[in-house]
């Protein structure tokens, strides 16, 4: 059986199916191969960037050190939920007949705690997500591909918002499962918890979108990591203090509306409105602003911030 004539290295690759290996000898062309397979264009590119960025936000694929902060914060968000559920479950069994004791952790009261963790998460990870490509001029490798500048900004924004949603909703899911299973009558508990799940999702999205937008807008404009993180933390911490001071001192409407300046307070107000209960934070309580106003302010602010991010990436020199 004659050996299949090997294609010389420099010309076209051997396209005929390779002969069975057995008795023959063949040399295959290791030269540069053309690619005439499928090209999936922009939508696939955006999805690939979104997934890569989401993994990058949690330090996956970036070496050990990059995972500490994101997973650390996620753990801090989840552990109390698990502990509370465990405590709740023990209490339930040894507790008084039948009546379910007021759970120490409930969906709406868990938010203020998670919200601070999310703020730290955004302050640490938003610069990771955006600053890196600017500082090392990697943008020119992205923009010279089948991708519009706005696609890049959208994919990165979606990645951060999704990451925050994870940090917010994973603990809530644990509480949901825990409360449902801990209760004596599973079906009844499930029904009750399901009724409040839309509120959970709405509140989670609001937190993710508003805090994410603030983090993105700042990170997009400050390539240096340290300055970006410091500024984001400042943007979350300083306004509430100013709002509190002015709230006490000034009389009249100024005191009430100054609360709109602080993202944390707006979210607290929305949280109370969505879960139909009184806000725990007394500045917000005293301001007593109607839910729809808070929602409108949140949406407008998010739109403006995302707009600023898009504009930045439209004009940045790659």
């Amino acid at each position: 059986m004659t050996a299949e004539r090997p294609a010389p290295a420099s010309t076209t690759p051997s396209t005929s199916p390779p002969a069975p290996v057995a008795a023959t000898g063949s040399i295959y062309d290791l030269g540069y191969q053309r690619y005439d397979g499928r090209r999936l264009g922009r939508p696939f590119a955006i999805r690939a960037l979104y997934i890569h960025s989401l993994k990058g936000t949690f330090g996956i694929g970036r070496g050990g050190r990059a995972k500490i902060v994101p997973f650390g914060l996620l753990a801090l968000a989840v552990v109390p939920a698990i502990v509370a559920i465990g405590f709740q479950a023990l209490l339930g069994r040894a507790g008084a007949a039948g009546r379910q004791i007021e759970a120490p952790i409930r969906f709406d009261t868990y938010y203020p705690y998670v919200q601070t963790l999310v703020m730290l998460f955004v302050a640490a990870q938003a610069p990771e997500l955006l600053g890196r490509d600017q500082r090392y001029h990697v943008l020119s490798l992205y923009f010279s591909r089948a991708l519009r500048r706005s696609d890049y900004a959208i994919a990165k924004a979606a990645a951060l918002v999704s990451a925050i949603l994870l940090v917010v909703l994973v603990p809530q899911a644990i509480i949901f499962v825990g409360l449902t299973l801990a209760g004596r009558d599973v079906v009844d508990a499930l029904g009750e918890n399901l009724r409040s799940s839309p509120a959970i999702l709405v509140e989670g999205t609001l937190v993710a979108v508003l805090l994410g937008a603030i983090g993105l807008a700042i990170a997009a404009h400050t390539p240096r990591r340290a300055y970006a993180s410091a500024t984001i933390i400042g943007a979350f911490i300083v306004p509430p203090i100013v709002a509190a001071i002015i709230g006490q001192a000034a009389r009249g409407d100024l005191g009430r509306y100054v609360v709109l300046l602080s993202p944390g307070d707006v979210l607290e107000g929305l949280n109370a409105w969505v879960f139909a209960r009184l806000p725990t934070n007394q500045t917000v309580a005293r301001a007593d602003l109607p839910g729809p106003l808070l929602l409108a302010v949140a949406i407008v602010a998010t739109a403006l911030l995302f707009g600023a991010v898009l504009r930045r990436y439209w004009r940045i020199a790659a």
């Binding site: 001071i245 002015i246 006490q248 001192a249 000034a250």
Partner: protein
């Protein structure tokens, strides 16, 4: 010659966003003084003014502004190689240190002095606390001159001047200053307070100072520290090495 170096360094230091940031930070005490004035109707303005100026300016804004400007004027240029074009000139190193010092120290002293006076008058003006405001302004001005000198020298000695400077302010002057009286001897904050107390005359007892040697000694020590910092800066600049192959 010093004027030539100063003019070049000045455009480098104060040209950028850093100036706006510094002015904004310096304006915060005046803002808060206005708010306090609007809401508090206390009778005795002197302790209120003294407390506010001490807490808001001497302990926080003054060292911060001095730290940023002091370490940036020469330190950051040494770090990114911009300073090389001045170093490779036949100029004595002390002239470079003095020129860059003046560029950072004078604006800091001016800005902080004004801000202290303004905040003091806003809170204590018309209520008999004008004297305290003036005394604090003078103290803060002297403090600025010393802080900038120390931080500048620090920025020549180490690349991490910002962090080391922050450590000095928070730990030595802040934490230890509260616990161990002895640290006052080497605490610029105490010098400022001592000078203010001496100048405030009758109202001086509203100012709490752990530095027990009085205003004159504080000024003397300030001068000593300033000159020492200049000398250290010069010596280290003369031995500055550019790294890297």
């Amino acid at each position: 010659m010093i004027w030539t170096i100063a003019r070049a360094a000045e455009r480098g230091l104060l040209g950028r966003r850093r100036t706006i940031l510094m002015v904004a930070v310096a304006a915060i005490p005046v803002l808060i003084a206005a708010i306090v004035r609007a809401s508090a109707e206390t009778s005795d303005a002197v302790p209120l003014t003294a407390g506010l100026l001490d807490g808001l300016v001497v302990r926080t804004v003054l060292p911060l502004v001095a730290l940023v400007l002091g370490t940036a004027v020469l330190g950051s240029d040494l770090e990114d190689g911009t300073a090389v074009y001045v170093l490779v000139k036949p100029i004595e190193r002390w002239r470079i240190v003095v020129a860059t010092y003046l560029v950072a120290a004078l604006p800091t002293a001016g800005l902080m002095g004004l801000v202290t006076l303004a905040a003091g008058l806003v809170v204590g003006g018309g209520r008999g606390a004008e004297g305290v405001a003036v005394a604090f302004a003078a103290g803060v001005a002297v403090g600025s001159l010393v802080y900038v000198a120390v931080f500048l020298a620090l920025s020549v000695v180490t690349g991490r001047a910002l962090i080391v400077g922050l450590g000095y302010v928070l730990l030595w002057e802040g934490l230890l200053g509260g616990l161990l009286e002895g640290t006052a001897v080497l605490s610029i904050r105490q010098y400022v307070l001592a000078i203010a107390k001496a100048l405030a005359g009758r109202d001086g007892d509203a100012i709490t100072v752990t530095f027990t040697f009085g205003g004159a000694v504080a000024i003397a020590l300030s001068a000593l520290l300033l000159v020492g910092a200049m000398a250290l800066g010069t010596r280290r600049l003369a031995r500055f090495e550019v790294r890297g192959d």
